[in-house]
C-alpha cells in the first residue's frame, strides 16, 4: 500500500509538484491521470526513491521513501518511463541481473526468471539479445524485470506508451492479474479511456496538485459530466482555470 502525504518538489523555479496527497491501497488499481507536465512522473520518481521530496512525506508499506528508502524499494517493483534494457544481454539475462541485485538466492534465480517469463508470455524471445526488440517486447521484458522479486507494490510510469493494441491488451490483463493477487498497483497515464477501463481509483493531477481523487463513478458525479473525458477536462479546470 502506498501513501503520499502533501509532497512538494521544485526544479529551480519550476514547481513541479505542490502538495500532492493520495493513497493507493492493496488489491486495487490506482490510476494517476493528468496532462503532460502535470507532475505525474515526478510524483512517481519520489515514490520509487530516485528523487527526494522538498516537503511532505510518502511511504510504501509503512516504509518512508526518504528515511528507509532501501526497504521501500525492496517491496516495490518499478517500471520507469521509457525504461531501457541492456542490448547485449538476452531478455532472460536482463531479468536475472535484476533478480540477483534484488537479493534473490542464486539457486532460486533460474526458477524465478522462468516463472516470470511464463507469466508475461515472453518465452518466444526470452533467449534472444534484446537489441532490436520491438517496443512491446521491450516493455514486457522491463515489466518482467520489475516484477521478478515478487513485489507487493507495483509502480508503472506510462506503461502503455508506444504499445500496439495487442500489447496494451496483455498489459491490461497483467495489471488485473496483479490486482487479483492482492497487489497494490499504481500507474500513470494521460489517456482517460485507459485509466477508466482499468482503475478502481483515479487521481487526476493538474499543475502539480490533485484535482480529484475518486472512483470513476464518483468523478462523474462530482463533475456532473457523464462522459469521463469531459469530467477529466472539468476536473483539470478546477485547479488551473486558465
Amino acid at each position: 500500500m502506498i501513501r503520499v502525504d502533501g509532497i512538494h518538489k521544485s526544479f529551480g523555479s519550476v514547481r513541479a509538484v505542490r502538495g500532492i496527497s493520495f493513497e493507493a491501497p492493496d488489491g486495487r488499481v490506482t490510476g494517476l491521470l493528468g496532462p503532460n507536465g502535470a507532475g505525474k512522473s515526478t510524483t512517481l520518481r519520489i515514490l520509487y526513491t530516485v528523487m527526494k521530496p522538498d516537503a511532505g512525506s510518502a511511504s510504501i508499506d509503512g516504509h518512508d521513501v526518504v528515511k528507509s528508502s532501501l526497504d521501500a524499494r525492496r517491496c516495490t517493483g518499478t517500471l520507469p518511463h521509457g525504461a531501457g534494457l541492456y542490448p547485449h544481454l538476452t531478455a532472460r539475462e536482463n531479468i536475472a541481473y535484476f533478480a540477483s541485485l534484488c537479493g534473490i538466492e542464486r539457486s532460486n534465480i533460474e526458477e524465478r526468471v522462468e516463472n516470470i517469463v511464463d507469466l508475461l508470455e515472453i518465452k518466444d524471445f526470452a533467449d534472444r539479445r534484446t537489441k532490436g526488440f520491438s517496443q512491446g517486447q521491450r516493455t514486457k521484458v522491463a515489466l518482467a524485470r520489475a516484477l521478478v522479486h515478487d513485489p507487493q507494490n507495483v509502480i508503472l510510469d506510462e506503461p502503455s506508451n508506444g504499445l500496439d493494441v495487442m500489447a496494451t491488451r496483455s498489459l491490461r490483463e497483467l495489471i488485473l492479474k496483479l490486482k487479483d493477487a492482492g497487489r497494490c498497483v499504481l500507474f500513470s497515464s494521460h489517456v482517460m479511456q485507459e485509466v477508466a477501463a482499468l482503475c478502481d481509483d483515479i487521481v487526476i493531477i493538474a499543475d502539480g496538485r490533485v484535482a480529484i481523487d475518486d472512483t470513476a463513478e464518483g468523478i462523474r458525479e462530482q463533475t456532473g459530466c457523464d462522459d469521463l473525458e469531459d469530467a477529466f477536462v472539468a476536473a483539470i479546470h478546477r485547479v488551473s482555470p486558465e
Binding site: 520509487y48 530516485v50 532501501l70 525492496r74 520507469p80 544481454l89 535484476f98 541485485l101 534484488c102
Partner: protein, 393 residues
C-alpha cells in the same frame, strides 16, 4: 555487499565482452596500434640515421679540373663526385630550389692560390634552414675541414715545425651513456603509450556507468532497485579497472614483441625490456588504473550524453601527457617531489627501468601510494556524485 558488487561487475564484464566494436577499440586499438606505430616510426628514423654514415653521398662539384688532389681526397671519404650545374649562379639556384642539398664550387684561381701558399677559396653552397639537407652539408663541411687540417700539418712539417703546434688542446670526448641509457631517450615516450592504452581499455565502461545507462534508459530502473548506489558504482568501476588492466597487459606484451622488430642494437641501444621488466612495469603502472577509471567515470558523470562524454574523455586521454611533456622539455632528472605526480612518476620510474638504472625504492613507494590514494579519493567522489538527483539528467 560483496555479492551485489560482484553481480554488477560480472554483468558489466559480460556486457562489454559481447560488444564487439567496443571490445575491439578497447583491447586492440590501444595495445596493438600504439606499439605498431611506434615500431614503424622508430624503424624509419633509425634507417635514416644509419644510412647517413654509410651511404655514398653524391656531391656536385663545379670546377673539378682546378683541384685534382682535393677531388681525390673527397672521393676517398665516400663522396661521389657528380656533374654540377654549369656556372656559379645555376649552382646556387639548384640548392635554393632543393635540387641539390650541397654543391662545392672550386674557382679558377684555386690552383694558383694553393701554389702561392695563400688561403685557397672553396665555396660550399647549402641551405641551413633545410634541416634534412643540412645534415649532408655538414658532412661535406667536415670533410673539407679535415682536408684543411691535413694540408696545414703537411706544410708545417715541410718547414720543420711539428704539426702538434696546431693542436694546443687535446680534446677527448667521453660519452658516459650506456647502450641502455641511450634507449631511454628514444623509449621515453612509450610510457605514455601504456597509459593511453590503459585508459582506452576502460573508456567505454566509464561512460556507460552514467551517461550510457542514462541514454539507454536503464539508469532509473537500476536505481529503483533495493541496492545502495555505492555498490553499483563500485561494481562498475572495478569492471572498468579489469578492462584497463587487460588493455595494459596486452600493450606491454605487444611492446615486448614490437621491440624485437626494431633494429635498436644497430644504434647501440639495448632497451632493458625483458619479461621481468614487463611484469615489473605492469605493477608499476597498475596503481594508475584506479585513478584513470575514477577520473573517466567522474568526467563522464557530468556529461549529458554518450557523445558528449566521448568528447570530454578524449581530453582526459591527453591529460597524462602534460606532466610528462613538461618534464621532458625541461629535461629534469627524477626528483622526490615528482613521485607525487601521477603519470609523471610512472613515466620516470619506467624510464629508469628501461635504462637499466637502479630504481629508487622510496620513489616507487611514493608513486604507488600517492597514485592509489588519489584514485581512492576520486572513486569516493564518484560514489558521492552517483547519489545526487542530477544524475538522472
Amino acid at each position: 555487499m560483496i555479492r551485489t558488487i560482484f553481480t554488477v561487475f560480472s554483468k558489466e564484464v559480460l556486457d562489454n565482452f559481447r560488444d564487439r566494436r567496443t571490445l575491439a577499440s578497447a583491447l586492440l586499438m590501444g595495445p596493438l596500434f600504439g606499439p605498431l606505430l611506434f615500431a614503424f616510426v622508430i624503424n624509419l628514423s633509425i634507417e635514416r640515421s644509419l644510412s647517413d654514415v654509410e651511404k655514398t653521398l653524391e656531391l656536385p662539384v663545379l670546377g673539378v679540373e682546378y683541384a685534382p688532389t682535393l677531388i681525390d681526397y673527397l672521393k676517398s671519404r665516400n663522396l661521389k663526385i657528380i656533374a654540377a650545374p654549369e656556372d656559379r649562379e645555376a649552382a646556387v639556384a639548384s640548392v635554393k630550389s632543393g635540387l641539390h642539398d650541397v654543391v662545392i664550387i672550386i674557382p679558377r684561381g684555386y690552383g694558383e692560390q694553393m701554389a702561392n701558399g695563400i688561403p685557397a677559396k672553396v665555396e660550399l653552397v647549402s641551405d641551413r634552414a633545410n634541416t634534412a639537407a643540412d645534415r649532408d652539408a655538414r658532412r661535406v663541411r667536415n670533410v673539407l675541414y679535415a682536408y684543411n687540417q691535413e694540408l696545414a700539418a703537411i706544410r708545417l712539417s715541410a718547414r720543420g715545425v711539428s704539426p702538434l703546434v696546431l693542436r694546443p688542446l687535446n680534446i677527448d670526448d667521453i660519452d658516459v651513456s650506456t647502450a641502455s641509457g641511450r634507449s631511454g631517450i628514444l623509449l621515453g615516450m612509450m610510457s605514455y603509450f601504456f597509459i593511453f592504452a590503459m585508459l582506452m581499455g576502460g573508456m567505454y565502461l566509464a561512460i556507460d556507468t552514467t551517461a550510457g545507462e542514462r541514454e539507454r534508459g536503464s539508469l532509473e530502473p537500476l536505481l529503483a532497485l533495493p541496492v545502495t548506489r555505492d555498490r553499483l558504482i563500485l561494481g562498475k568501476i572495478i569492471a572498468t579497472c579489469l578492462f584497463m588492466a587487460l588493455s595494459l597487459m596486452l600493450s606491454l606484451i605487444s611492446f615486448f614483441f614490437a621491440l624485437k622488430f626494431m633494429p635498436l642494437q644497430e644504434l647501440g641501444m639495448t632497451p632493458n625490456f625483458g619479461p621481468r621488466v614487463v611484469v615489473a612495469a605492469f605493477f608499476l603502472l597498475a596503481p594508475f588504473i584506479l585513478l584513470g577509471a575514477s577520473v573517466m567515470t567522474l568526467v563522464a558523470s557530468f556529461t549529458k550524453s554518450y557523445k558528449e562524454a566521448q568528447t570530454w574523455l578524449s581530453v582526459v586521454l591527453l591529460a597524462p601527457t602534460l606532466p610528462i611533456l613538461i618534464v621532458s622539455l625541461l629535461t629534469l632528472r627524477p626528483r622526490l617531489e615528482f613521485m607525487f605526480v601521477p603519470s609523471l612518476s610512472q613515466h620516470l620510474l619506467l624510464i629508469d627501468m628501461v635504462k637499466n638504472e637502479p630504481v629508487n625504492v622510496l620513489h616507487v613507494v611514493i608513486s604507488v601510494t600517492s597514485t592509489l590514494l588519489l584514485g581512492g579519493l576520486l572513486t569516493w567522489l564518484c560514489a558521492r556524485l552517483y547519489r545526487r538527483e542530477g544524475l538522472l539528467g
